[in-house]
Symmetry: C2
Subunit: 368 residues, 2 copies
């Protein structure tokens, strides 16, 4: 049997630096855990534009479709701000999401004990937090037709359409229920069924899928505004939250900020199962390309490393190894190792991007 | 000159109790500040249904249209849960909002120093917070057509339409700029112009109104997901936030929860100026009718009293008197007076609804 394949698209800014540290981790799993991957590198975003005049070539798109998982660093930078809309670095990422049909966006909101003081929330509200927001990523009001700005009489009118089909809701609901079974078996579905028919359908379909296929999972429903409140009040009440594209956009970002560790958070975007049973999958840190610190060895590689941990868990069914990696990160933080972004007001001496990667590899060694 | 008129719709549950305390305050302003109001009482919600078989009679609607301001307590209760949709207590409130065309919903998020420990946020993040969220209340995706659930082939499809006209955006933008001039002169407008054309138009119109009429006010723009993050991280960066109906729904509730004083918060819903120059206006606490504690003298009247303070400021141009009332509330809290809902984990002896009203009247006396 051949090794599973990874396509690495390091991208722009700090992307290549943090991805270098991920490669150390990948190498470690091949050497020490007999978990070798066939790794291929390619370009995305500004880097692809510089080389090929497009933020994602057809050849790269083809490779992404055939890889067992795609790891992405970050895209974008001031150098590309004046490019035409269709050539902007972000279009490369959007093309990947669209053509791979990655409808289920997994956004963990986790708070490492060692970093709990970074949160604007009180320590007991946030320490040890571990929830997962599943955001529908390919439909809803950001994509629905009709859309646009037109004239009615003397007035401009702006229109967007929130539109969800039964099957679009069903597939992301299944994704959330599957996740819950691997976690604490609880799903809270959020919409505005009190004022939106698309929310009424959302609630109906989630309820139907639950009754027919996932009755063992605990399901609750909450209006999205109440959900925003409850996330701010006591986020630990949740396990998995499933919601639509727009609500998920706001709620996942709010939850991420609540952890105080925005720069530490990974994400996964999953699609339908491929012939080998693995879902189409793209893993990337939530943070951006941070062009201001690129190339200086200051970047924090943890979000990208934790994205690889998600790949271990969700693409390669290696939950125990994913946990080993997450625990290694936790240990390094508990030991007081900090990249520059993690130094609090009391200061201290930061370690470099590479030193952080090495420390995590050391912690992995120590775990054996 | 006749006195300004107030229509009081106390409603259901704790509504009548808390409104009794507001009446003490109104009486005080007539006696001690030569600010007399012509007060009329009427019914709304379940109380109106019990008396007339409808949650709002045409006669009451007519009075509301002609009053200088409407003060509302709260509507709803388990007794009315089985009523037909059109007869539910909430429909009375929705009819008022719709027929008075109250497009600008003012939701202050304030945190009293004495209550800062109730927040899930750290004390320094939230103590003394005073921001104002202006939510467009009569248009957007909760109202746009087409809407509904229909079949396409074998599938159900749920549709809602986000739709904003130039004039709908312009009038709520003006409302926010006017407010900012009475506060700290800063407006932040939030939308998703990066992915929604209705957001593009929102940003354009807000910018045009700013340049043409309010160039003296500081204006910034933020994507609504970043706005949700920033509200959680450092809410004191904002003064006035203006946003659409849906984003405002989530952001105002999240901000309210962040203060930790959800039961303390007032609101105003304003429409176009009437012949006398005053805006159509309805003032109400953010909290609900709390049927579980109704009639027991346990309710906290402060949110309703602060709603009257908003009426003083926004309907009757009595900013100094509004501030006097707010300071009186602050003093009573600083003195340690607490209704049952404000007792922390350390306990203490609660005072009754009436005792809280009396204490605030006393503090008003002391302010003279
Ligand atoms: Mg977002
Ligand atoms: Mg709401």
């Amino acid at each position: 049997m051949s090794n599973p394949s990874l396509l690495i698209l390091a991208g722009d800014g700090i992307g290549p630096e943090v991805m270098n540290e991920v490669k150390k981790i990948i190498g470690w799993y091949g050497d020490k855990r007999d978990l070798a991957f066939d790794v291929e590198d390619d370009l995305v975003g500004g880097a692809a534009f510089d080389a090929h005049g497009t933020p994602l070539t057809d050849a790269t798109m083809e490779k992404a479709q055939n890889a067992d998982a795609v790891l992405l660093g970050a895209v974008g930078g001031p150098k590309y701000d004046t490019l035409d809309f269709s050539q902007k670095p972000e279009r490369g990422l959007l093309r990947l999401r669209k053509e791979m049909d990655l409808f289920s966006n997994l956004r963990p909101a986790q708070c490492f004990d060692a970093l709990a003081d970074f949160s604007s929330l009180k320590r007991d509200v946030v320490a040890g937090l571990d929830i997962m927001i599943v955001r529908e990523l390919t439909s809803g009001v950001y994509f629905g037709e009709p859309r646009g700005i037109h004239k009615e009489g003397n007035e401009r009118v702006g229109v967007n359409t929130q539109r969800y089909t039964e099957s679009e809701i069903a597939r992301v609901a299944r994704s959330a229920f599957e996740l819950a079974r691997r976690r604490n078996n609880k799903v809270c579905s959020m919409e505005k069924a009190n004022v939106m028919e698309s929310g009424v359908l959302w609630r109906q379909v989630v309820t139907e899928i639950h009754e027919a296929e996932y009755a063992d999972v605990e399901l609750s429903h909450m209006y999205a505004d109440a959900g925003a409140m409850q996330l701010c009040r006591w986020p630990k009440q949740f396990d998995v939250i499933v919601t639509d594209n727009l609500f998920g956009d706001l709620l996942s970002d709010a939850a991420a900020m609540l952890t105080g560790s925005l720069g530490m958070l990974p994400s996964a975007s999953l699609g339908a199962p491929m012939a080998n049973g693995r879902p189409k999958a793209l893993y990337e840190p939530v943070h951006g390309s941070a062009p201001d610190i690129a190339g200086q060895g200051k970047a924090n590689p943890i979000a990208c490393i934790l994205s690889f941990a998600m790949a271990l868990r969700y693409s390669f069914d290696q939950a125990a190894e994913a946990e080993r990696l997450e625990k290694a990160v936790e240990k390094v933080l508990a030991d007081g190792k900090r990249t520059a972004d993690l130094l609090g007001p009391e200061g201290g001496t930061p370690i470099s991007t590479a030193e952080m990667g090495d420390a995590i590899v050391e912690a992995l060694d120590a775990s054996l």
